[in-house]
Symmetry: C2
Subunit: 412 residues, 2 copies
Amino acid sequence: MTTTASTINTLFSDRAQQVQSSFIRDILKAAGQSNMVSFAGGLPEPSLFPAQHLAKSAYRVLMNNGQQALQYTNTEGYMPLRRFIAERYLRQQKIPIDPEQVLITSGSQQALDLISKLFLDPGDEIIMERPSYLGAIQCFSQYSPVIKEVDLSEQGPNAEQLQELTQEGNIKFFYTIPNYQNPTGKRHGLSSRKETAAIIAQSETFIIEDDPYGEIRFDGEQLPTLHSLLPEQTILLGTFSKMIAPGLRIGWVIATPEIIRKLTVLKQASDLHSSHLDQQVLYDYLTHYDLEEHLQRVSNLYSKRRDIMLEAMKAYFPESVTYQIPEGGMFFWLEFGKQFNAMKLLEKSMKEGIIFVPGETFYASNPVFNTARFNFSNTEEDKMTQSLATLGDLIKKMERGDKPTIKWWPLP
Amino acid sequence: MTTTASTINTLFSDRAQQVQSSFIRDILKAAGQSNMVSFAGGLPEPSLFPAQHLAKSAYRVLMNNGQQALQYTNTEGYMPLRRFIAERYLRQQKIPIDPEQVLITSGSQQALDLISKLFLDPGDEIIMERPSYLGAIQCFSQYSPVIKEVDLSEQGPNAEQLQELTQEGNIKFFYTIPNYQNPTGKRHGLSSRKETAAIIAQSETFIIEDDPYGEIRFDGEQLPTLHSLLPEQTILLGTFSKMIAPGLRIGWVIATPEIIRKLTVLKQASDLHSSHLDQQVLYDYLTHYDLEEHLQRVSNLYSKRRDIMLEAMKAYFPESVTYQIPEGGMFFWLEFGKQFNAMKLLEKSMKEGIIFVPGETFYASNPVFNTARFNFSNTEEDKMTQSLATLGDLIKKMERGDKPTIKWWPLP
């Protein structure tokens, strides 16, 4: 028999049947091809990218050191960059990290994939916050785990649920985003962090601490990482994607030397190493220009946009829509009235050229339909206000139309 | 109970126990830290990297289009680069490829990982050439397949064995490197290619055609890809690593649109996309400078080094050492006398500051110990001759010492 379109499917792995394309990325792809006003992505504002500085860095690296930067390198990554990352944590978190504890990855997304490869056999149990990062749900799903969830409140993950789950079962890891979480924008408080660390310390499991937004802080003090509170049982993920530019795909993992060695072997089999050129260009940039000043510029603009979004929502959205004010990061998390369906709002708003992400996509199970994620980092100020006014009208109209009365009377 | 160094291992996946660090990369890492003369790696000659042209391209991209090149992009890759790759195949192989059939990957190594994710459940059967690329053995091993092997002769893979294996079982794919194979340097002849395509056409399986070296041709005509002979059942992998520079980690997959869509979803979960900057820089390079002229320079130098290695082996190696003259690529494959152990030769040669890779590492099972891979692309001409003379002496000494007689008499 010959392979035909109809028989190809029988050759695919179980995994390939399970993993679905990301709804967000499909929306974004559509948006990229049109003039939509998008609150949907988690994209940084491109005018903030230090393109001219990176141009000079790239030119310098290639002219002075091109033969090395264009050659294969070791899987762990470019040592001066690993050292820079380790030293910055020492300054900020006051705990020593050896450069050998730093693995450079192709963005944090690859870190999630390598960690899944290291820990997950089919049927293994993991814990995620509810709701959580869609890309993590999608990545873990490739390895067929059983995903348990803990609720996320304004203070942090529900400690009772976390305690119960970690005590009862064989949990491989607890995946958490303590700073300005995607999608909720929530930050775990200090006492929540200490409680989480204490619970995990009593268990035989790991924390995967994903921290892409920690440096995008508007208000409040910096808080300690879970890694600094429980280094032996925490794998910390960082990335330059939100700090500098995502097009470079350079992130990192901080873990014990034993775990780094294991992840390195898996990374070697996965892509040999991350772009050597991008690693050297980033390192040149970090040593020639002022990162802290750059981060201040990023935080200032995003903080301003958060304020504008906040003002517009106050002005135009009905009181039934509730939200917490994010103190950093890129997202507002909205809750609508109980019967409200955010996906239906999206259908209507797309006709007006406005997109966002309905919250249902961020739940590993039992989706909640009256929620939505709104990004504020990537929309110009004037478009933002105007579009949120339009959305406010749509929400109000839907609420009027969705009154329970219409459910009690049959349509003609 | 608390997690300690001794209990961590219990959390690792089955996969993590199976995958071993690459012996070659461990040797290379050691070599990189010393002044070894290395015939071990598969590294391109760095003085051939077009570093100045790439410096200009990087500067141009970042100054003129930095906001786009530094932003997230779609998973499939930068469309102008995908179009360039598709059009080049049309010119060279005379079959039309739609840009939608091109997926940009982080080197061919990632393509192998994505293909494994798409096809392999534990226990699935695949076929490899014997011997084959170590990085592929290592990558596939993450997914616990059963690896069947077909012998590789001067003409190509053994057709009878291939026929038998593809007819009897549920083979997911046949992985092959038809041009200047790693490690043997062998190229499949035209009639072998047609036979392979005919055998696979009668089966329900796929060809994974890995072609990193096809453009590094010294002698003979270009031959058709297996993909051009059997497009519906062949997934073709290409890379800029050997053509331009491996530090960029930019490769590609050519397949049917259905397979590309499936691979794209898996890539999205694995690293979102490959470096956008590197893709744009490469595209700028390809459209501003003459790739064919560059490839001619690469082939000329490697061809010269092959000749020098050949002359030195003729002059200094005993007649017991046999090899086929590679017509392209980067490697000689050596066979020693039956009782010879190449790993023992390596132990001795390392003391003289010379390294190469014993052939035993390239077998998925039943390793052959009297073989070795010698790379000629990355060693300067004068060092090459001198080091091969030293190796020739070591081989001759070992042969005298390894005479069967010593096995018949007990040592005192």
